[in-house]
Symmetry: D2
């Protein structure tokens, strides 16, 4: 049985790009981390070291910078689409491009009524993400998939969460809990059914729904909360085909203070780092468009 080259891709990861808009006195800032990955006709590059088809990762980085100047950043989904379409259109050997963008949010320093004109402070903990995959093989028309998302959205509820009635086996020692802390650092990614969407508005709406459902669901388990979050997002927006949620259960253990003559009715907790539960689920619209290679990425490669 012959040994053959299978899936392969390459690109430039984690280009840290800051774009300042200074057309007026009141500047704007966009702060990104951009990663590109290309697939295509790269067999010779592997088998014989012939680089004739290989656009350097350095050129990919330059393209990210040049596009940020020429077309601007705009919504990160559109910026990623422009880059991905450029690579499959203009670089002959490329048949698939994957572009990941992370965005870090800044607020204005609150000095005047509406904030300082050109001084900013890093906001929040969480990161907004976009992943675009564009494919163009042979005579086939270009196809693009857009996944938007967020990560490191750290949320906690101090009541309204239980964990009871679970399966018990020989190794089960966990006590049932009628009232516990539920905390997670949420990663959510949702795949749109198409393009041409008001990405920023959609992002805001999804984020709002995720937070509200996390807050309002009386939770019997993180699984239930995730389902409620995910299905509510799909119920609210027809243009989202699927959402994936990955939620570490960040354990907060009630500290036993009895030895010191103290009770502890849900007041003092030890926040543990590891291990953590990891709960993951996808919610999709039955009969929605196919995901194609949308979820493939350098991060899922190996």
């Amino acid at each position: 049985m012959a040994i053959v080259l299978s899936d392969n891709q390459y690109g430039k990861a984690e280009t840290r790009l800051v774009r300042i808009y200074r057309d007026t006195q009141r500047h704007e800032i966009r702060d990104l981390c951009v990663s590109t990955a290309l697939r295509g006709d790269f067999v010779a590059a592997h088998l014989t070291g012939d680089q004739a088809n290989v656009l350097p990762t350095d050129s990919q980085k330059n393209t990210c910078f040049a596009y940020a100047k020429e077309r601007g950043v705009g919504e990160i989904e559109d910026y990623a689409l422009a880059l991905a379409e450029h690579f499959v259109t203009d670089i002959a050997p490329v048949t698939r491009a994957h572009v990941d963008v992370e965005e870090y949010r800044w607020d204005r320093v609150p000095v005047a009524g509406t904030g300082h004109a050109h001084t900013f402070v890093r906001a929040g903990h969480e990161v907004r993400t976009a992943s675009v995959t564009t494919v163009a093989e042979g005579a086939v028309e270009k196809l693009s998939w857009v996944i938007s998302g967020l990560r490191d959205l750290v949320v906690l509820k101090s009541t309204g969460s239980a964990f009871t009635g679970f399966l018990k086996d020989r190794y089960t020692t966990l006590a049932e809990a009628a009232d516990r802390i539920l905390a997670t650092s949420l990663t959510a990614r949702w795949r749109y059914a198409g393009t041409g969407i008001a990405w920023g508005e959609a992002f805001g709406q999804v984020r709002r729904i995720l937070l509200e459902r996390f807050a309002e669901v009386e939770s019997n388990a993180l699984q239930q909360t995730l389902w409620e979050m995910g299905s509510s997002v799909l119920a609210a927006r027809d243009d989202i085909a699927e959402i994936r949620l990955s939620a570490p259960n960040k354990h907060h253990f009630l500290v036993d203070l009895a030895a010191f003559g103290l009770d502890n009715p849900g007041e003092v907790f030890h926040a543990d780092d590891r291990p953590y539960g990891l709960i993951q689920c996808a919610v999709r619209r039955d009969g929605g468009p196919d995901a194609g290679p949308a979820w493939d990425s350098p991060a899922s490669f190996a």
Copy 2:
């Protein structure tokens, strides 16, 4: 020349403590990382392994938890003072206690007018800190020093910063810059002249001054900006004896786009990780009270 035991201390580092206040339907959350370090008569522990004077670090951790229940957290400066005074008062061999507290801020999930009653989202990037040192040797009365601070306050100004007229030597290639990005991840720590202060209010005021001065100073160098920030804090509050500022100069390099036929008048930057400038300065009130061991800590030990 004899070999002797010199400075030594021990304690429990990074106890992750979450305190929920649930006396009403509207919960409150306090999220801390607490570290303790004790000095005292521990020579035998080192030289002969005799632990009779050694309060276990596990007991120190328990104390942090118990105090969070018994007296509550309140302002982290008061919580740290209570712990430090407890150790030097109640644990006979201890002559000096150092307690470091970090606090992570949470906002309410914005579901109703005033936010959700018991669901929170991690806020901001920055961390509020307090370091208390309490000493009680022999018949001497107890003395305490309080340092408040913040770290990871990431700020950036997109104009209003220059770096010109600097010293040039054989190894200087840097071009002068009349207009550049100035960005840092600020660590600031200020030592109070006494105790009994409205810590939270003071923290808010200092943070506000630091942000405002960073924004408003037309900067000829990060040194000048730090001085303006620090001296403004001392000018505003007589009860602060000293402030120390440590500011990595997070370099943002203007990308050369000329090869692509593009100009780049301060619009597209590469944010670099390393190396970074590191600018540090202390500003103090002449004739203010002595710092004593206030700045000593496990972090500065080795």
Copy 3:
């Protein structure tokens, strides 16, 4: 179109387990990080919060500890197989189990000829990994897939690497390099065609081949080096069906010292953190057994 629950899994991540063998005076140490993920009939857990089918992640953690005592660790592949088979066999609702194990290596402190009997020093930078997936649906017999691997194997060659003849586009400014530093932090994972293999011996052989090929291939690009590494592994071992390699190109930039009157013929480099090239490829045996769900994992979920 109905909104439906799609892929979902849950488990306990990053249980840090240390197993000491102390049957003789000469102890042995095994240091692991274990993660479990279960799939199966968990629809009710999501849709109604009914946990009757949900074995707590805490029980999964307990199982990892108990198995380390009862059956010992042995080769991490066998340990992961035992755990995965237990979950699909003994926990009724579970139809698929995924177990990831990382192992950290320790050397004996070199005090006597053969090292100290019970004192160890953490060795190396790299981590050995194993990922086992076991499936048992309906009346079907259990099937298991084993992937072994390593990560953070940091290697560098100071010559014997070029990058020339590459594709140039409008955004290409990179100069061709006839002789450059090639450095990476390798992640390699290889899927076996079956089980019942001498895992430790196989691991050693694969690691040796990877290192030797990295060293000996005159590289025209990292792609070529990866292909040579991967195909050599498959050529050497019939029982490996596929290998995936993920290699960040850790850039080392030659420092321009001309301004100081110094030449720099490949001697002084700046090692940059970000961005980095990311080169990934899979090499497989044509007609080998199907990968099934072997590459699915919590890490690739979202």
Copy 4:
């Protein structure tokens, strides 16, 4: 009371420098992270923004690179001395220079008998460090202090460690342990009485003593072990004036397996991340030379 500028310093932190020696076919590699910090007459830089006395941190970085070419790296202590003396000698406003160097060790890829000529694999976990402070104020002759060290030396003993007879207070629940795991990630730094020492040989000897004493001392507490390690180093080398040891007590908790019908006589442990004990001590030679500003550094500034 006037507000005045107090301690201040600035420099370039974490310049990642790789030096290849390629004078013969058999290359050598040195992999460093270099940080510089300068003190001197920088009042105007702070108070008025006048940079006439300020050598850019960029020039300091260039100097690190140029020196690596011109004089080579050699022992990192000598390299740091050369840099520090250059700054105080050749840059007029500078009266004190502090240079920190970290070194990452590489082994040759073991392909031939003596290893590959130009391919290397990152070795070990630990880092070798050097900190040099050079002072030259007014007409005073230059004075230099050299501190060598290591960090992240992770060691563990699976027996030969107890913790009993300790002080118990109201908050003590810890059980005495006659036999436990003792593990730490050691930071050790030792100050030499002078310069002109065979640094590499001394480093090897100190590291060997630290490991041997950690292994051989029957430990009643980490304090005792540290004292034995530190005092043995000073006993072995007259040219070392002081050593400081900082040792997190990395807790390994015996897992309670009784619920599963299993005993656990020191075999299965949970390695916890936080909190950890932190034990620190200094051992010095009575009457040895003064430390001066040797221990001051950017890391201890704030």
